[in-house]
Every structure is written in C-alpha cells, then in structure tokens.
C-alpha cells in the first residue's frame, strides 16, 4: 500500500516570492509520482509527473519538482509565484508494478495562497 503526506495544509506567500510545497510518500514498491492542481470549483489538472529518467521534472508554467528516492520526497517548487497560482495542490503516487498501478493515492492537499 502507498501513503502520501503533504506536510503543510496551507502556505501563504507574497507575489513574486519563491515557494516550496512539501510531499513525502511511503510505499513498499517503486512508484510514479505526480503533482495535480485544483483551482476553486474545478477538477484536478496534472501539473507534472515523474516516471523515469532525470529526477528533476518541470511544468510549462514554471513549477518544478525533484524526486529524492533516499528521502522518499517529491517537493514542488517555484522561484517566483503569481496571484494566478493560488490553488490547492495535491501530491499523488501510483505503484510501478502489480495489479493496481492505475490507482492514484493522494495526499490531503496544500492550499497555496498568493497575496499581492
């Protein structure tokens, strides 16, 4: 089984400041890792994912996340946030093998609020 812990339930920051949203996971098997974003009253949108290869993955809107296998972490960072980045961010994992590798296990989410 897998579990995901998002260490901060809320992160308030000022516009143009850097931000880091922390995610740790626990799993007895290797996993794929994902970050999803949920804007108010909307469904989830995939922000970025780590499947294999380089441990640093980037999104088109400036976010990046680094897979750290030894620390079982997949923290999300952005060097300069905008008001429009205000949303809830969910870290998720799915097992690489076995019968349930389609199943996403999510953390509880981190509400990022960007203030002017």
């Amino acid at each position: 089984a897998q579990s995901v812990t998002q260490l901060d339930s809320q992160v308030p920051v000022f516009e143009e400041a850097p931000v880091e949203l922390r995610c740790n996971y626990s799993s007895s098997v290797s996993v794929y890792l994902f970050w999803y974003v949920q804007y108010p009253n909307q469904g989830l949108q995939l922000l970025l994912k780590y499947l294999s290869g380089s441990t640093l993955v980037k999104s088109i809107n400036g976010f990046e996340a680094e897979f750290n296998k030894s620390q079982t972490s997949f923290h999300l960072r952005k060097p300069s946030v905008h008001i429009s980045d205000t949303a809830e961010y969910f870290c998720a994992v799915s097992p690489r093998s076995g019968g349930s590798n389609y199943k996403l296990t999510f953390g509880k989410g981190t509400l990022l609020t960007v203030n002017p």
Binding site: Y102, L104, F106, G109
Partner: protein
Amino acid sequence: DAGVTQSPTHLIKTRGQQVTLRCSPISGHKSVSWYQQVLGQGPQFIFQYYEKEERGRGNFPDRFSARQFPNYSSELNVNALLLGDSALYLCASSYGTGGTDTQYFGPGTRLTVL
C-alpha cells in the same frame, strides 16, 4: 478535443435515497476511474473500469457500484445515501490502465446529502 465531462454539476439528495452520476471520457480513452473527494481531503479511489470490466475497487462499501458502457462512458451509483457520502465525485479517464497512462480529471459532481 473535449475534456472529461460529468453530469450533473450539483446534486442534493436526502438520506436513504439513491443517486446516479455520469461521466464521459476523452475521445479515444478506454479507461474510467472514479474518486471521492471529501471537503478538506485528497481524492480517494473508488473504482476503475477498462473495456467495460471492473479492474479495481477501493475501500468503499457495496452501496457504491459502477458500470461502463460500450462507448466507454460510465455511471457511478450510490444506494442508501448517508450524510458522509456528501463529497465531490471526480471522474478521470485515461487511454489505458498502466501507471504511466496520465489520468485526466473532469470538473466533478458535487453531491450534498441532507
């Protein structure tokens, strides 16, 4: 191309009633998954269907059931509604069932049980 669509957008029911939620996947996607998102929590996996067959089930009671149709659309049914069933129900579609198949989520159906 259209994304994942869900209907209805909002629904209000009373305890003990039954509800059916509907999902249309992205064109070409053969897999549909259902998730329940209770306020303040992350989504929890309920079911996955692929080619009209149930491929996986989460830790939900038998009051929850689903099916997938030949056109790959899907319905989620919940019987004997409880107050705790109040949540946002999300549908996700993907081309296949592997972990590398990105799941694309719909906007959800907000169910309120009174």
